[in-house]
């Protein structure tokens, strides 16, 4: 049985236009969904649909997923084999990022594995461009603006110089 036999497939077929077949994104800007924690996917979709997490691309598709059955959609991507990004990172940036990542380890773990029980996402193998962009959005309070639960991460991001984001992104992206 392949990805198309999962009951969530018929509710998720439109997503591969951006996130790749079965959530294995090929590009630097679109996050990998394959193997992502189901509860985190569900929360992200709810945040997009309500407009809390702002994305013109995701808002309509999140609403679609909620109408069709968000648990099936989240379950579909969560059940796929994790597929790290094919985008490669510069080893020197990875090394710098490893050092800089010490401040993030408290929440994301040393390698970026995250913690599903606290809905802290797994950063490993995500495309570097996507990770970097999300850090910039946190820093500018443009990802879920005003969300009280994200105060700590945003305060921390404000202390990180912009150039360091690329290093952090390279590091987490290169982890498996």
């Amino acid at each position: 049985a392949g990805p198309l036999d999962h009951p969530g497939y018929v509710k998720s077929a439109t997503c591969s236009a951006c996130h790749g077949f079965a959530g294995a994104s090929r590009s630097d800007t679109m996050p990998v969904l394959a193997g992502m924690d189901a509860a985190y996917i569900k929360k992200a979709l709810q945040d997009y649909a309500s407009g809390k997490r702002v994305s013109p691309e995701m808002e309509p598709f999140a609403k679609q997923a909620l109408q069709l059955g968000v648990d099936d959609v989240a379950g579909y991507f969560a059940s796929q084999k994790k597929a790290p990004t094919p985008v490669t990172a510069d080893p020197a940036a990875v090394a710098r990022g490893r050092t800089a990542a010490a401040t993030c380890a408290g929440c994301h773990g040393a390698d970026g594995k995250g913690d599903p029980s606290k809905q802290i996402p797994d950063l490993r193998g995500q495309p570097p461009g996507y990770l970097r962009n999300q850090m910039m959005l946190f820093k500018a309070d443009r990802r879920s603006p005003g969300d009280a639960n994200l105060k700590a991460i945003k305060t921390l991001m404000k202390t990180v110089p912009d150039q360091t984001f690329a290093d952090l992104a390279a590091y987490y992206s290169s982890q498996r």
């Binding site: 018929v10 590009s27 800007t29 691309e57 679609q64």
Partner: protein, 393 residues
């Protein structure tokens, strides 16, 4: 073609023939094989390589090259799709055969995704299109138009004509306007671009294009100016009101209809222009066991876009797989995102999500990006990489 005589590839088990290896057909062929590897899939496509229309407006402005939009069919072959580089000549619905070369292929189900053809006869002087540069199918035409634009002397006038709806890619002519205007502003500041639009206003993303064009005073946009005549000798186009407009370089985008093979095979609706289909299976309402997808279809609240054709390919592959296994099809809604580049580095987008209600496609929401930005352009690149791989990888 010598080999294609009689029943040149006798059918063994279940077989689906796909006509057209563009956005709809390539996707359908791949997903049929993913869904049920016991189905033999034969794809008929005269072109040796796939060339993407999305991003081809950037070839005109020199921001992208055509080779960067060209993809091999080897990915489909690796999925077990039998790719035949030959056109379908005719369809015989009653006996479930497609004529190819001097022979035929038997099918259980047929998927037709022939894209659009041009209605040259609505433009007096266009003949059979011999001298028309439309660049509305990416390939040689794109290169020709890019060359004409890039080699035109500073001060010359570029005229772009937009046909009445419905046509392939509603925002396409306005993305092209933006790219040409950006190129002229940067490279030929004395030149201007006259846009003669048959429609009453910019058809898609109107406000966002208007905002983008504030940076391009070289655009002379004229709504409700339908071009009905062209004189290549005098280098003049004439509108339905008799206005004559001189051009140095002309990009004439002609009125469009479904690809000829679909209309010739009786799949056209009352308008004899586009093909009506079921909203769940994409089976033609005119012929059994034949499914039509992509730009050729009508009656759904969706734009004629590559993203929609890709959706339809996946949905139809799923439905056909189920039908051939004797199971009922599962309703699956399409989706759409159209990115448009308004300069060399900024883009805008329109996003449409749908659901199926009472076996009809219904829009849930349409959303526009709030403004043009480099981030949207980056997302456009990401979309292209992902969707090309989804089709052909």
């Amino acid at each position: 073609a010598a080999a294609m005589q009689g029943d040149f590839m006798p059918k063994g088990g279940k077989r689906v023939v796909v006509v057209g290896g563009g956005w709809g057909g390539a996707t359908a062929a791949k997903y049929l094989r993913l869904g049920d590897p016991s189905i033999e899939v034969v794809l008929l496509e005269p072109n040796k390589e796939f060339i993407s229309c999305p991003f081809s407006n950037l070839v005109l402005s020199g921001v992208r090259t055509l080779p960067s939009l060209t993809i091999s069919y080897d990915g489909l072959r690796a999925h077990g799709v039998k790719v035949l580089h030959a056109p379908a000549v005719a369809i015989e619905p009653e006996i479930q055969r497609v004529r190819v070369g001097e022979g035929f292929l038997q099918y259980d189900r047929l998927i037709v995704s022939p894209g659009v053809d041009f209605i040259f006869e609505q433009i007096d002087g266009a003949g059979q299109g011999e001298r028309v540069v439309h660049a509305w199918k990416a390939g040689d035409q794109t290169v020709t138009l890019a060359h004409q634009l890039q080699s035109m002397p500073d001060g010359d006038v570029f005229v772009l004509t937009v046909p009445p709806v419905a046509f392939r890619c509603p925002p396409g002519p306005y993305e092209r306007t933006s790219q040409i205007a950006w190129y002229l502003k940067t490279n030929k500041p004395k030149s201007k671009l006259i846009v003669l639009d048959a429609n009453q206003n910019i058809v898609s993303k109107t406000g966002l294009f208007r905002a983008a064009w504030k940076a391009y005073p070289n655009i002379d946009y004229r709504a409700s100016n339908k071009v009905t005549k062209v004189d290549f000798g005098e280098r003049v186009v004439t509108t339905e009101f008799g206005d004559r407009v001189k051009f140095d370089v002309l990009n004439l985008i002609p009125p469009q209809r479904a690809g000829a093979i679909a209309l010739r095979s009786g799949l056209g609706g009352d308008d004899q222009r586009w093909c009506p289909v079921d909203h769940v299976t994409y089976e033609s309402t005119k012929a059994r066991n034949i499914h039509v997808i992509g730009d050729a279809t009508t009656g759904l609240p969706v734009p004629k876009s590559g993203n929609v054709a890709n959706s339809m390919g996946k949905i139809t592959a799923h439905a056909v797989t189920r039908l051939l296994a004797g199971k009922p099809p599962v309703p699956m809604p399409p989706g759409n995102t159209c990115y448009s580049w308004v300069s060399d580095r900024e883009a805008i987008a329109v996003v449409n999500a749908y659901k199926i209600e009472n076996n009809k496609v219904v829009q849930i929401e349409q959303k526009l990006t709030p403004a043009q930005s480099p981030q949207v352009a980056q997302n456009a690149v990401g979309w292209a990489q992902s969707i090309w791989h989804d089709m052909l990888g």
